[in-house]
Symmetry: C2
Subunit: 741 residues, 2 copies
């Protein structure tokens, strides 16, 4: 098999198959926008409001073209044009003859060009303008297509809609006898020690010899099978004993076996394919006591299950919401994926929810999740819209869904399919009756029924939001979380502004000192991004000032904003863990971002730069830790500080008896409060300890206090929390009641 990369040029026209004024060098995979920017000297879309200069590119037709240069092939060799993804609606022409058309960026293209194309021939790919439902505005323009809705503008994403060849695209020369398709499936027995593995193989020609080799995680061959294939299709079954299971991060090794398939023809190997397999069982189960609700008549139903069981063990899903790592998916590199997955792994995360507003990722992402033990909750490309069931939309959705399921179902990391984001909420308006979601359920059932399926998130019992430090009813996030009793927190967030050094890279110097509307601060979502938090989302300047004073400088504001984000995330993650087993998931909104924001709920800045909150989250996600349940952030001198001490345990290991010493520290002194001695703790169980109380009369208003929990003999389990000594008077604003209570 021989891959031939192609040299592409790109141009645009106002008409379908029209004249292009000029042709520019194209990067493939990439995006037409980036090719134009490079060739025409457009300023970087990530800086200031320059993305606006790219807007016209939504509405023209694009042509990629290349003159074929095909090596001399052996008699009988086959020539294919292959693309793993072209975005979005396109037609392919060979010497001005249309040979193919497709709508949908997630369905790969494979065209047999044998005998049809020769060197010197012209291959063109014409792209339609980006799809927009007539009469719609913003993201609703995307509600009749399978393009990620986020590109049409979101509260952390500018409107910038990619077009172009976004994944690997090449010519491929194959011998006449090649492997057309391989798919594997396994059943694990009840003891989870024996796997019955079946490969379904389709060859281009019958009567060939196929060799299948299976290797363990150390690359040692453990099975080999050779077979003469009489038909084009064959299934090869093998049993694997003493199976080493694939486990999510924190619960065991994500063991992967390797397989290789060799196709021989006249004693020569004519084709080979290889891949990996992880053996695991996945199920969504009801949490303990779930069936006892509801109690009263007239009796409704119990909440739907959202507790994850892997290999017959209940696990706690701790992780994050993954968004597209680039505005232009064509330029996401393996390195970017690797850095992002590695950072999640290092932060003790075990689940990424791949949010339905963004793309379905490239293969390497899922391979990395397999290898790092990160469970993937994969959504289809539906988000915050009412995707109405027109026949055309349902056809495209079915095609794209089938392609997505077939491509991804082999990954052990893929533990959950989901129809899309927040579709059962007012701003979307879809329901169980929506044909799009019934279709997705049907296709997932048909093609991959062993993987659970949700129509959307949240379902009953699950919670999304809030995305602020202070809630509407004058609670802070710590108070609100203690009152919540959800089965899964699958989106929650608290924003912070970025650092000054980072802001400098995309906010012009003359705008940098004054975060106001109409500047790059707004373009980069620090201001007016979301209606609910007032005009100051995502910066939350008002909140920061309420806590730390009106006269706070910009530098201090950035720093305090980051502090609030750290406090919020630590509080939410740890409280969600305390609410186990009713609660079984904590996934913050969001992990990363596709361009530099001035303020965002993310814990990584673009492309993968940790914000302070990343380290706070990492702290809160440690499998074992000493944790303080602090009922609010801001305290007055006349109050008695009170908080509970807990040991949180998300590991399969038991915890030995131990003790935790507790101190209250300010800039001047460290006061010893108490020592909690506890008995051994069972695997996966938390332990609630004493409530600690302390008079605050001695502490000065305006400063931060630190609650330190020293876990004896295990420094790595110790924790520290900040609270604020509130000033006696604060301006008469929304936060007043909280601050003066």
């Amino acid at each position: 098999m021989n891959r031939i990369q192609l040299d592409w040029q790109v141009g645009w026209s106002k008409e379908k198959y029209g004249q292009c004024e000029r042709m520019l060098e194209a990067s493939v995979p990439g995006a037409v926008q980036l090719d134009v920017a490079k060739a025409e000297g457009l300023p970087d879309y990530k800086y200031a409001d320059h993305y606006k200069q790219y807007a016209w590119m939504e509405d023209v037709y694009w042509k990629y073209e290349t003159t074929l240069d095909i090596p001399i092939c052996k008699e009988g060799d086959k020539l294919f044009f292959v693309s793993k993804g072209i975005d979005y609606h396109f037609e392919i022409y060979l010497n001005h003859q249309k040979i193919f058309s497709q709508e949908g960026m997630f369905t790969p293209v494979e065209l047999d060009m044998t005998g049809k194309a020769k060197s010197g021939d012209l291959l063109e790919i014409w792209l339609y303008p980006v799809p927009k439902r007539k009469g719609a505005e913003g993201r609703q323009q995307a509600d009749q297509c399978c393009k990620p809705a986020v590109s049409y503008g979101w509260d952390w994403h500018p409107r910038l809609i990619p077009s172009g060849i976004w994944d690997d695209t090449y010519l491929e020369v194959r011998q006449a006898s090649y492997i057309q398709h391989v798919e594997h499936h396994y059943d694990l027995d009840d003891t989870l020690t024996k796997a019955f593995l079946t490969f379904h193989i389709t060859l281009s020609q019958p009567n060939k010899k196929v060799q299948l080799v299976l290797r363990d995680e150390k690359q040692q061959m453990i099975r080999k099978q050779e077979i003469m294939v009489k038909d084009k299709q064959v299934s090869i079954a093998m049993a694997v004993d003493n199976v080493k299971l694939w486990w999510p991060n924190g619960y065991g090794d994500p063991t992967l076996y390797g397989w290789e398939l060799l196709l021989s023809d006249l004693e020569q190997i004519s084709d080979r394919k290889k891949g990996k397999i992880g053996f695991r069982k996945v199920k969504l189960i009801m949490h303990e006591q779930a069936w006892e609700e509801p109690q009263n008549f007239p009796k409704s139903r119990s909440n739907p299950p959202i507790t994850m069981e892997i290999n017959h063990q209940t696990v706690f899903c701790i992780g994050t919401n993954w968004v597209n790592p680039e505005i232009f998916p064509g330029i996401i590199t393996a390195e970017t994926y690797h850095e992002l997955v590695r950072l999640g792994y290092e932060a003790h995360m075990n689940m990424f929810r791949v949010w339905g507003g963004g793309i379905i990722n490239k293969d390497v992402f899922y391979e990395l999740c397999d290898a790092y033990g990160i469970m993937v909750w994969q959504e289809f490309p539906l988000s915050c819209n009412d995707y109405k069931s027109t026949p055309h939309y349902l056809d495209i959705l079915e095609q794209e869904a089938v392609s997505i399921i077939k491509r991804l179902k082999k990954h052990p990391s893929l533990v959950l399919w989901c129809g899309g984001n927040e579709l059962f909420n007012a701003w979307s308006g879809m329901t169980e009756q929506s044909h799009a979601l019934r279709l997705l359920n049907a296709k997932c059932y048909e093609l991959d029924r062993e993987t659970p399926f949700l129509m959307t998130s949240p379902l009953s019992g699950m919670g999304h939001g809030h995305y602020l430090f202070q809630y509407n009813n004058d609670q802070d996030v710590l108070e609100a979380m203690i009152e919540a009793d959800h089965t899964a927190y699958t989106e929650f967030g608290c924003p912070s502004p970025s650092t000054y050094d980072y802001l400098k890279t995309f906010i012009p110097a003359h705008e940098l000192q004054t975060p106001i509307e109409g500047t790059a601060w707004e373009d980069h979502h620090a201001i007016g991004a979301w209606p609910v938090g007032g005009n100051d989302t995502w910066f939350l300047m008002e909140t920061i000032k309420r806590y730390f004073g009106e006269t706070i400088s910009l530098h201090e504001m950035l720093e305090k904003g980051q502090l609030l984000q750290c406090i919020a995330y630590k509080g939410i993650y740890e409280e969600a863990r305390r609410q186990k087993p009713r609660c079984s998931m904590a996934l913050n909104w969001c992990y990363n971002e596709p361009w530099p924001t001035a303020a965002n709920n993310s814990i990584l800045n673009y492309p993968y730069e940790p914000k302070p909150a990343y380290y706070a989250v990492k702290d809160a996600c440690r499998p074992v830790l000493a944790s303080a349940r602090i009922p609010k952030f801001s305290w007055h001198a006349h109050e008695t500080l009170s908080f509970e001490i807990w040991v949180l345990n998300n590991s399969f290991g038991a915890i030995e008896a131990g003790s935790i010493r507790c101190y209250l520290q300010d800039e001047e002194k460290e006061v010893y409060l108490l020592t909690w001695e506890f008995h051994g703790i069972e695997p996966m169980m938390n332990r609630q300890g004493p409530t600690v109380r302390c008079n605050l009369a001695d502490y000065e208003a305006g400063g931060l206090l630190h609650i330190k929990l020293i876990y004896e003999g295990h420094d790595a389990y110790s924790s520290c929390y900040d609270i604020l000594m509130s000033k006696p008077r604060s301006p008469n604003r929304q936060g007043e009641k909280l601050l003066n209570q």
Copy 2:
């Protein structure tokens, strides 16, 4: 086409395909149990505990046999064996050669016997013993099959599990050229005035002439199309203008068009088929304001939609839960179906929920519902079990579901598919992840996506139960309903004992005076039927005595029990209607019963004898009525009686301004309370009137008072309600708090 009925004999054997000791005359359709009973003189299963004598029949193999007597056929004629239903797992033998086998009673059998069978041949049908999951008891034995679970014993149904040929079964001689299959589909345009109708036809042979005739509801031909069919398959499309829509009872006429298909061969008609079509659009929508919930963060989802929209109009579904009208479905007659459907129609009902514990009905039931405008909520045969996803079960379920959907989807009355009964509650343990329910969604989507689908009832927001007059927390049913705020009451009940004359027909004289355990009272579900209500379900003797005194006679007890049932049903139906538009459905548990019960929640005694509650329900279901919202049944002399007056309107007609006079009546006097004059009321809208108050000091304890609402000028809208003047002291029991408050 020529149908030949067969003379069957039936016998049994302890072994598969073993020797039958003797062969008895068989009624087909019917049940083996009834054939044995008749031939061997077993006592009627409906009397006393005689059903127990039928228990052994569960566990033997049954053989039906017939010697074929086939008329002389023309050259080229085809001979078929056809059965619309054989219950449950069976094999068919011709001259001792197995020619067919099937599991599943809802998939019809059609065997081409042409050239294979001749007169004098022996045709045998061997039935397996009834399916029972190993290790299971009671209804759980049915959790791996598609037999109705109710037969395995329920709180209103004895354990008596039918076997046998339960629907029409015959030989059929067809001309060589015949119509194999017809299916029709239509699209209504947005104005609902124009239908695009398509018939998909499969013929046994190509090159035939097909004529399609469409007639309106007055049998006038309105369309005719003739076509030469080149292939075996053809689609014929026709547009219908000025469509008269099919409407549910109370909202318009259930207009049905007629179609006929004629197949001609050499100028002679060789086959014909006909049927009916009703044009309507159906949708489940969110109720008004549904999207405003939930309000707080972390935000969960809104309740799923359960408001029925027919032809772009919101309707209120008022009706009942339909159970199998016979223990043995083979003996349900068209007359029984007709009486039951007619009684529902006359009681102003517009919906039957065909409960998943029972059978899928015979064709005539759905034809009657089409004709009477009764919407059918059809459940698949799953109820109160965890139907685990073994491959075998899923295969049978898929086969049966496909047969059921294909048979029923043509009926305009069929407005809702549902996976089964109470599957998301603790006693079942299924969830959205259950493969059986995902499969049913997929099949309904694939074959009939325009009809809404629920995985089960209740879903979130919907309510089932209670089934008692007094709730556990000392409320009566009137109080509990006023506190409830569900989106649909899809099962609610209150039982009553049967009348003395009726009881006499199945309770032996020596047991009749003393309703105690271990007598026919228990076998017929008056005692110990359901754990929650104490031992006295469904008679509720304790409740009756609490209200009416310990010394009450049996005759009085029967009468008072019926009174309480009337009060409960009237209260619930009318309160559900007041809770519109949040609430959109009121379906009581249950309508009918398959054998005589001593006490039951049903409003009809077997087979279709109205209980007093039938008339109370009929009263409460009137499209327009004066209604009193009475907060409880039992009152003390020191209390002030207070209740609201309403006009309830479930009609598309506006109501003119009018007035309602209100009286309180006891045996001695009638006291005028007030007159409410109201303005005109809009279609489908209720109107809340004044709260009426009245001192009760003058009324004597122990008697009933009647609240009379006289609707001026419309006697048919007037209503009357009973309340009880409670005795000052009652025994110190559970009901005390209520009675002495």
